[in-house]
Amino acid sequence: MPLAYTPTNVPVTINADACIADKGCTVCVDVCPLDVLAIDMAKGTAYMKYDECWYCMPCEADCPTNAVTVSIPYLLR
């Protein structure tokens, strides 16, 4: 039973210029109740790794540099 991957547009986006993950910040990753955010070590920024969003907003509200934007997932808009 082989697997295929289907691309999907994710609701949480990160402004790479503002993100300070490269300085050791993991706030958005820490506060996500669904654990869908991660740090891209190569780029030094956070990103949405899994499309499992409750659009609950702590990642955006707690980000110290306002780098995170939560949109309503496309299926719900």
Binding site: I20, K23, G24, C25, V27, P64
Partner: protein, 319 residues
């Protein structure tokens, strides 16, 4: 090693990062002080960070001090109310307000006595409100005549929380004469604690205030105080252009059980706004006078189920 036994970042490690040359690294480290707030070292580091060269680091320090108690913390936050950056000043004010530890009140009062800055004064008065210490009364009374409306608003707040009869005259004056509608509204609202019948005239006057929210507050307070002398003014307020004011007036007329109000409440059963019809029906029930029956009978088929239910309830009460 199992993750489960991994220790949270220790205070030494955080302290090392707080000494970094990179402001972003310092900022993140300051935020992490929340996790080690039980360590006395953490408090010192947080206070020190309030004088960091970088505004963002100071901002996080003002926020993280929420996790700590005590005089040193309060004094540091008071000082931060005069930070060069507004975001730091606002965060310090918020943290002082959130702090529930009444033992720091003397520090706040002392600071209040030695400042002329209106932002600092408003922030300190707001922080002192919930502590309810008698020593604040005098200074709050002075604040009532301050040029800045935000200081006056917080001064009214302090006095209202103290519920001291001897300041009622000053609150009545603010309710009647303050130039700022929000100050007048809060002052009118503050009168609910006072037993004095002198407030009657002020409340009646407030029912004719230019601002509808002041009028609404006055209608509410009259009912809560059970001021029979204000019935005529409430009946007149049933003609207010804002139905929100009429709703509160109707509610209060019910609480006052005023038979004189049956006619005006009966007419309100035909008002376009169902919120008002609801309140009028409930109040007619509370008044319990038979003369309300014809109005209520006519309203039995109201389109709004809530109105219908209250009409039935009122008819049963009247009997």
């Amino acid at each position: 090693m199992s993750l489960m036994f991994e220790e949270e970042s220790g205070i030494d490690e955080v302290a090392e990062r707080i000494a970094s040359d990179d402001a972003a690294v310092r900022r993140i480290a300051v935020m992490e002080l929340a996790e080690v707030s039980f360590d006395p070292e953490a408090e010192l580091l947080a206070i020190k960070a309030l004088s960091d060269a970088d505004g963002d680091v100071r901002l996080e320090a003002a926020r993280v001090l929420y996790e700590f108690d005590g005089d040193a913390v309060a004094q540091a936050l008071v000082d931060a109310l005069q930070d060069s950056e507004e975001k730091v000043r606002l965060a310090a004010a918020e943290t002082l307000f959130e702090n529930k530890d009444g033992s720091v009140a003397p520090i706040l009062i002392k600071a209040l006595q030695s400042t002329t800055d209106s932002f600092v004064m408003a922030a300190l008065l707001r922080a002192l409100r919930e502590h309810r210490v008698a020593e604040t009364q005098q200074i709050a009374l002075q604040g009532l005549t301050h040029a800045d409306a935000s200081v006056r608003r917080e001064a009214v707040g302090v006095l209202a929380y103290l519920k001291a009869e001897e300041v009622v005259l000053a609150l009545m004056d603010a309710a009647r004469n303050d130039a700022d509608p929000e100050v007048r509204r809060v002052a009118v609202g503050s009168l609910v604690f006072s037993k004095t019948d002198k407030s009657c005239e002020v409340l009646q006057g407030a029912l004719q205030d230019d601002n509808w929210q002041v009028r609404e507050e006055a209608a509410f307070v009259i009912g809560k105080l059970g001021r029979q002398e204000c019935v005529d003014a409430l009946i007149a307020a049933m003609d207010d252009g804002y139905w929100e004011v009429c709703v509160k007036s109707a509610r209060s007329l019910g609480q006052l059980k005023s038979r004189k109000a049956v006619e005006v409440l009966g007419s309100a059963l035909g008002h376009g706004m169902s919120n008002l019809r609801k309140e009028a029906a409930a109040s007619l029930g509370e008044i319990g006078d038979k003369s309300a029956r014809p109005y209520l009978l006519q309203a039995q088929e109201d389109v709004d189920p809530d109105v219908r239910k209250l009409v039935q309830w009122a008819l049963q009460r009247i009997g």
